[in-house]
Subunit: 354 residues, 2 copies
Amino acid sequence: MKKSLTIHDIAKIADVSSATVSRVLSNSSYPVSPELRSKILRIAKEHNYVPNLLGKQLKTKTSMTIGVIIPTITNSFYSSVILGVEEIARKNNYQVLLCNSFQNPELEDKYIQGMFEKQVRGLIISSISSDKKQLKHFIDMGLNVVALDQKMDMPDVCEVDFDYNKGGYMATRHLIGKGHKHIAYVTAPLDRPSRLSIHNGYLTAMREAGLEPLVEEGGRESYSGTYEFENGKMLTRRLMNGGWRPSAIFACNDMTAFGVVGELAALGLKVPQDVSVMGFDGIDFGQMITPPLTTVLQPTYEMGRIACDMLLDMLLDGKKPNSGIMLLPELLERDSVAEPSVGPAAETAAGTMH
Amino acid sequence: MKKSLTIHDIAKIADVSSATVSRVLSNSSYPVSPELRSKILRIAKEHNYVPNLLGKQLKTKTSMTIGVIIPTITNSFYSSVILGVEEIARKNNYQVLLCNSFQNPELEDKYIQGMFEKQVRGLIISSISSDKKQLKHFIDMGLNVVALDQKMDMPDVCEVDFDYNKGGYMATRHLIGKGHKHIAYVTAPLDRPSRLSIHNGYLTAMREAGLEPLVEEGGRESYSGTYEFENGKMLTRRLMNGGWRPSAIFACNDMTAFGVVGELAALGLKVPQDVSVMGFDGIDFGQMITPPLTTVLQPTYEMGRIACDMLLDMLLDGKKPNSGIMLLPELLERDSVAEPSVGPAAETAAGTMH
DNA sequence: CTGTTAGCGCGTTCAC
DNA sequence: GTGAACGCGCTAACAG
């Protein structure tokens, strides 16, 4: 195993001081004569010089890396966000330290500590931890934080948010606009701000239209990877066995909507002829099922890019950008929503109007 | 912004030397009297001491972080692998630096260089770069590498492999066992070892059974996120317009299979009654479509865990484990494959036998 | 323009 | 059992 060179080795070979070598190799603006510069550059290249950033970082107190903490990378929402984060990071010569917290607060804290020890001073986090004490402490010590997806409500923490409320409202309005009156909402547990907001949007739209809402809420979630899907199936079964048969079902996310579609098929019901289905998220897989899923698009990649941009602004300029940003939803109209048929479901609906 | 303490600050407060503080706080085996030990521990805790790992790493020449380079995290195959990698890393107090190469060799090289500069000495990589010169150099300099998914054929590089060949063979055998004679294989470009292997397994099984193979190969791929799906659709269209109508279609991966299923539906054909479809990968979404996809399971999470274990072995013991490991495929029987019907497709098949 | 020197925070000899 | 002193690789102040 070959030993790697230091600036001192290069200095010795070039017969100059290590300071000069440093000035050249670190692209310092400090003046160095063209001859020496090219000579040092040549020698460094010849010997495959690779700088040891630890030395540099120790001195300059900057580790060119940012941390990202998310629940789990296998959720395509987050993997897409990360792709955006990494793109911006790369363009600024930063690297990304990835952590999956599984929504475990202790793990989350441990990760933050570990990153701070490595002198990471920029963090993008989708946090669930209710106890912000530790994070607060690190922020005092110089950590810059951008919150993603989940609100933090902390001073000095920038947020990249998405208008879940409006998304829920838009989706419901779309269904109403198609003529639906019996619109059910199926959701994972309403224990997170984002879910509550979508739910709220749904309720608002229903109320506005003078329609009676019907919400089915799932049980405690697990990280099986198919929880959402199973939840969608289960809630649909419950829904269709109830007396109040919806002509449209709105799901809190696309994976849950897949479950809804699957269960509807199992019950012999056609989408969208018999029942319309609306998702939320806009993941790629939505267009791969039959029929392609009508849904609300959440600009995940863009969220990642923006979050990283904000973080780098904080890191470089030391200035805190406008406290936050709110991204807007967009309706992705595909084929899983249609006007209610004049079948039994619609007739029941008409019946309730008298 | 508060300033963080160093061991010297702690030493001053405790009225001892920084050496003693270091010995206590770094869990050194060096003997220190119990009184001093507890005193130092107490003071460190009271003052929220957080070690600066850069100093430690500079001294000990070990950065407790491993690098992972993959084509793109949005591919659920890789995100699942990474989850496994990170779990093992975390249990060993390592952290993960994530890079998406988009199969761009220059980006790949740049990332490797960047990591090496940060003193990362362990790398898990799914490389596409044909020019291994740079990597070879870094290995000489002390980089430990585990290749994932893509063979590297380099000495000193451990491989975690999957028996794609056998997987392709098993899938085809399964179809044959169900009574299919007209089995087509649709695939993304055969430009990667893994794809060639699956293809090979298919050919072998067909040849053994005295059946005529039919392969449809897609055009150059992009990273649109839905390339595989579109490719599956396109190839299916081409296939069903041809004279030789298959009773079963085997796709090189699940996403492509989704495209096959979707296009078949668009053509008015039912799966599996009219045409059977077999996927490859075993991603979670496979069970979320209708009908649930029969496929070959690739133990991605396990691959990640094993790769990371191997890497840590190399890193800690300095020893190179047995050069590689090969994971075996498993058939995941769901509902997209059935016996061929006695419809037109089967009759045509029978016809060719005479 | 160039070199000398002094740390960054930590671990580790080597004396005591 | 403890402390003083040195150095990991690099940058930045200062002097020339």
